[in-house]
Structures are given as C-alpha cells and as structure tokens.
C-alpha cells in the first residue's frame, strides 16, 4: 500500500467522522457553543447578577434596635445616613453584650433585622451586634453597622490623638510607601499577564481537552461497535492503525476547536472584566510559543489516544461513558495539584510525572521561562507517555473482539 493511499484513507476517515459528528446539533452545542459561552457567562453575566443583587441590598431600609445608655450623637447620625431605621432602648442586664438573652426571639423571628449593643466603659467602648446569619437583611445590617462603627472608631482615634497633642498622620502612619506601589514591581505587564494566565489556562486546557474528547471518542469507537458500523469498516482495505489514526485526527480536531473556543471565551471574559493594563497579552518569545504548541500537541496525543483506547475496550456506549467520565479524575487531581506547586526552584522530577509535566511546562512557558533541563524532561517524558498511550490504543484497535456477536 502506498503512503499516498494510506494518507488518503486516513484523511477520508477523519473527514467522514468530523462531517458525521458535526451533523448532530447537540454535539455542536456541547463542543462549540458551550465552551465559547461558558466563561463569558460565568465572568460577565454572573458578576452582573451579583451586582444587581448587591444594589438591591443597598437600597434596603433596615430595621434595627440600638441598645445603649449613652449613644453618641454622631454615631446615631451615621447609622441613619446608612439606611438603618432604628429605635433606641436601654441596655439589658446581660453578662456580656454578645449574649442574646431575652432578645433572642426578636432577632430569630425577623421582627427586626438586628440589635446593636454599645456601652461606654471608662476609657473605651464595648459593643456587640446580634444578627441572624441565615437572613440576608440581617447580614446586610451587620455589615452596614460594622462599616459605620469602623468609621466612627477612626474618628474617635483621631480625636484622641489630637487631644493628646499629637499629629494624626505621623502617629498613625510612621512608615509610608514612597511613590506608586505598582512601580515597585519590576515584572513587565506582559510577564504579569503571563503569570495570571498561567494560573488557569493550563487547568482549563487539561480539563477541557479531556472532557471534550469523551463524546467523540465514545461515538467513534463504542458507538460504531454498538451501531454495527465497525464491522463494515474493518472489511475495508485499511489497516487498523490507519483507522485509529483517522479517528484520532477527528477527535483531536473536534477537541482542539472546543479548547480553542473555550480559551477565546475565557480571554474575552477577562478582557471585558479587567482593565487592559492588568490583563494584557503575555510577553512570549517565539520559542515559548513553539514549545507551548508542542506541549499541547503531545498532551492531546496522549489524552485522545488514551480515551479512544478506553472507549474501544468498552462493549457499549453506556459502558464507555461509565469508564471515561470518572477517569476525568486522573486529569483533574493532577491539574489542581499543579496549580499550587511553586515554580521557583522546582525539582526536575515534577516535569516527568504524567499530566503534571505538561501543565507545569505550560505554566513556565506562559511566564516565558524556558529552562532547558525542564524542557528536555517534559518533552522526553511526554513523548514516552504519548507513545505508550498510542501503543495502548493500537492494542485495543487490534483486538479481535471489537467485533462481537457471533452467528
């Protein structure tokens, strides 16, 4: 068989798989639309929703009871100005102000949003806020009261300092930063962007590469087997390796599009949320970009081959799904683990651990750090793992029982 004929067959297999797969609208939704919209929805719509909820809370008039025998006038004014409608009662007889005592039911049954107790004791003040943490109104009251008390405390401190004949600023801030704090960071904005992106892009890439390959892998192997299309395919003049390679190409292409769209959605969301000075383009050398592409490709070879092999081992779509879905943990845990590994002075062996190696490589490369020793280790180990996964997949594709049911 000529190599031209082989590549034509591989292309024909891949093309047919992609065409057939893309004709299912649910697939397009799962592979194209969801990844594209997931992060924009999460980062843009969700904050907008939170913002509107916060605005709703801000507009609320809250009802409180202030228990004090000597409520300072300026504090009372501040509470009123912050949307707190209150009545003043004398302090109850309690051992400590935070003990609810007879007031427990009033707060629990929501007849009021909270009780603020404040008492002057010689040279200082004591206070407590009784609130119901499961009530949003009560929580909001607590937050507003704390903010008002904080402001009032600052005012009290400054008054005391001035009364003592001291200068407020030099007393409270004897140590001051000189200049712009941001100027102290010598990392360029591109490096900072790389650092930020390195915290989630490898994670997204790993999880989405695996999860978006699940459906096509199953459909093209166990699905074919279940639908009875595999037997006709095995009677064709193509080797099983060509079949595997064609299917691998199709799954990798579908997964690649899904991952790319998800990253686009993620970058769009970040760009929308943050100012461009914070999330700029990472400053990457051509070599870094090339190595990023190689690492992703090796990872994709490994993951897709592994999934195709597991799916081909399965006798049905259901069985394949019940194996591939929990196997996501094999990617998820190393991916989460990798996020917390300190890259400064990291030992070389980390770059030889499956999954971890590629994710660490991506983190380093996104920060434009090219450490030759690390590159060699992750490249060689990734090649070995990708080769092993491909070998395992080829073993599964060469199994005779991939065509079952005798008659």
């Amino acid at each position: 068989m000529s190599s031209k004929g082989k590549s034509a067959r591989v292309r024909a297999i891949a093309k047919k798989e992609i065409v057939e797969f893309s004709r299912d609208w649910r697939t397009i939704l799962a592979i194209i639309v969801i990844p594209l919209l997931m992060f924009p929805l999460l980062f843009i719509i969700f904050p907008l929703l939170l913002e509107s909820e916060a605005a709703e809370l801000d507009a609320m008039e809250l009802n409180a009871v202030i228990q004090s025998n000597s409520l300072p006038v300026n504090l009372a004014e501040n509470l009123s100005m912050n949307g707190i409608d209150f009545v003043v009662e004398p302090l109850p007889e309690v051992e400590q102000l935070s003990i609810a005592g007879d007031d427990l039911e009033r707060v629990r049954n929501n007849s009021i949003d909270g009780i603020v107790r404040i008492e002057r004791v010689e040279d200082h003040w004591k206070y407590a806020i009784l609130h119901l943490s499961t009530s949003e109104r009560s929580n909001e009251l607590r937050n507003r009261v704390l903010a008002v008390l904080n402001e009032w405390e600052v005012h009290e401190v400054e008054t005391l300092i001035e009364e003592g004949g001291l200068e407020v600023n030099s007393t409270l801030n004897p140590l001051r930063w000189d200049g712009d704090i941001a100027q102290g960071d010598v990392a360029t904005s591109g490096e900072q962007a790389g650092m930020v992106l390195s915290l989630f892009i490898p994670l997204v890439l790993a999880i989405w590469t695996y999860s978006s390959a699940i459906q096509p892998s199953i459909d093209m192997t166990a699905g074919e087997r279940e639908r009875g299309t595999l037997e006709a395919l095995l009677c064709l003049p193509c080797t099983r390796m060509e079949l595997l390679f064609g299917k691998w190409l199709a799954v990798a292409a579908i997964t690649g599009v899904g991952v790319l769209l998800q990253i686009c959605g993620l970058l769009f969301a970040i760009g929308y949320l943050a100012s461009s000075s914070v999330i700029g383009l990472p400053q990457l050398s051509i070599l870094s970009i090339g190595l990023i592409v190689i690492s992703i490709m090796l990872f994709a070879v490994m993951v897709v081959a592994f999934e195709l092999a597991l799916a081909m081992r399965s006798h049905s779509v259901k069985e394949a799904g019940s194996i591939l879905a929990p196997a996501l943990m094999l990617i998820l845990f190393p991916a989460l683990f990798t996020q917390v590994i300190n890259l400064d002075g990291i030992e070389g062996f980390w770059f030889a651990i499956p999954v971890v190696n590629v994710l660490l490589a991506l983190r380093e490369l996104l920060m434009n750090r090219i450490i030759t020793e690390h590159v060699i280790i992750w490249f060689v180990s990734s090649m070995v793992y990708a080769g092993l996964a491909a070998y395992y997949a080829s073993k599964q594709f060469n199994r005779e029982d991939i065509v079952t049911s005798l008659s």
Binding site: R9, E20, G228, A232, C238, E400
Partner: protein, 277 residues
C-alpha cells in the same frame, strides 16, 4: 476450467473456551454463488468474517489462490454485514462514497456503478437522503450498493434479503445472479433453504461450527438420499443447535456476579409452587 479464488485449509476459530468453528476445508471458486446455510449461532458469520479478514483463524489458513493472505485482497471484496453498518447521519450516497474512497476508487466511477445498480434496486431517488429514516429493506439495499460501488470480484453477503419485502428480495436475488453471470463470485449467507436453493450454485451447510455438507443442491439430495433440501438439512443437523452464548461467556465473572446480585428470582408462586407467608 474452475479457478479457485479463496482457499480455507483447516480453518478453525476459538473465542476463549468457545469453539466457534471446528476445522474447515473449503475452496471458493471463481464465478459461483456459494450459499452458507445454518441456524443462528451455527458459525456462518464467523466464517464470513474469517473470509473477510476481520478475524484471524485460530488454526489453519485463509489464502488466495496465489498463496497470499486474504488481507491483501480486501480491495476485491464487497461486504454486506448482517447489521448493514450504515452511518445514519450520512446520506446513502455519502455512505457509498466513503467506502469507495477507502477502496481508492474515484467518486465518478463509484457514482456510475451506484447509479446503474440503484436503478435495479429502485433506490435512485433515495441516494441523497440520510439513512436515518430508512426502512430495514432500504438499508439493506444501500449496503448492497455500497458493497458493489467499487467493483469487487468477490461479494460476501450476510443475510442480504433479511427484512426485505418479497419484491425487493426477488430483485436482490436476481442482481446476485446477474453479478455471477458477469463473472463475479458471491458468498451468500442465509438460514432460508428455499432462498439458497433459488440463488446458489453450491450450498455449504454449517451446524454447531462444523461443515456438515458442501455441494450443489442435487448433490446434497443425492448424498442424503432425500427428496427435498429441507429433509437433507434436517438429516444433516439432527443434533441440537447450540445456544448463542459466546458474548455472555466473554463477560467477566465479576460482571456476571454483580448482575445476578440485582436480578430477583422468579417467585415460586409464578412457577406453580405455594407462596410462602
């Protein structure tokens, strides 16, 4: 002079402990229609898959006349498997074209052949339709067109008339005979003796994985001293047919045990016993 196309020498097939096919010697000659007849689970499909190179024999060899393995002549094979094996999200023509491309045949060539046979099978108007909504008969015809589109010299047909109406089945049989007349070789699996009698030049009876008889219909009648093929078949296959349990046997012991754990026993009251209080 008869030319042997395909030679099976001592071919047997085992799946684990199951002897799916006991050693078989069989020559397939050029220009004949060979009927593989047997009950479900007899080993017909296993034999077809061995001939198609989907399975490797456990013992023996499946060779071409020149001694080459069968895998080297896959481009000469046209196969219609029992399940038809059509992709439901592709049109009938796309299914056909996909297989033809895998055979290295140009689209124009396969289209010309498809058009010709589609006329015979009354399928021309359906070639642009997705096969998802096809009836069993239409799927069967599409699979047949797909097997013919690249111009094979050997056709392996596994129950090709299953699910077809009487007229379509007759058309398929006529087409098979026409292909034979044009010099093609057809291996035709069926469990209908009458069909084998109508179509085949030679009948191979398989029972419980064994080749029980091989010859023309008249030769079979002669060798069994019977007056009908049905009587001949019965006399050759008197022992009870094995059950189809190969798939079940491939299941792991743990899977079987787990399944049995959640399978309630049939209450004795249903089986005729007294229900215990």
């Amino acid at each position: 002079m008869v030319k042997t196309l395909l030679s099976l020498k001592g071919v047997s097939k085992k799946f684990g402990d199951i002897q799916a096919l006991k050693p078989i010697d069989l020559d397939i000659n050029s220009g004949e229609i060979v009927g593989l007849v047997g009950s479900n689970g007899a080993g017909k499909t296993t034999l077809l898959r061995l001939m198609a190179g989907v399975y490797n024999p456990t013992a023996g060899s499946v060779q071409l006349s020149n001694g080459q393995p069968v895998s080297s002549m896959r481009h000469e094979l046209g196969v219609v498997p029992e399940s038809t094996g059509l992709y439901s999200r592709l049109t009938a023509w796309e299914n056909i074209r996909y297989h033809s491309r895998m055979h290295g045949v140009l689209d124009a060539t396969s289209w010309a052949r498809t058009e010709k046979f589609a006329d015979h099978l009354d399928m021309k108007d359906h070639l642009g339709r997705h096969t998802k909504g096809f009836s069993r008969g239409m799927k069967q015809k599409t699979a047949l067109l797909r097997a013919l589109a690249h111009g094979p010299s050997i056709l392996l047909l596994d129950e090709p008339t299953a699910g077809l109406d009487i007229t379509s089945a007759r058309t398929v049989r006529a087409l098979v005979r026409q292909l034979r007349d044009e010099g093609g070789t057809v291996i035709y699996s069926t469990h209908h003796l009458s069909e084998a009698e109508q179509v085949c030049d030679r009948i191979v009876i398989i029972h419980n994985g064994e080749l029980r008889a091989d010859g023309s219909p008249s030769k079979l009648l002669e060798s069994t001293t019977t007056h009908s093929l049905e009587d001949a078949y019965v006399s050759l296959t008197q022992d009870q047919a094995r059950t189809r349990k190969e798939d079940e046997d491939r299941e792991s012991t743990f899977s079987k045990w787990w399944r049995s754990l959640f399978t309630p026993r049939i209450p004795s009251s249903i089986l005729g016993g007294e229900e215990s209080e």
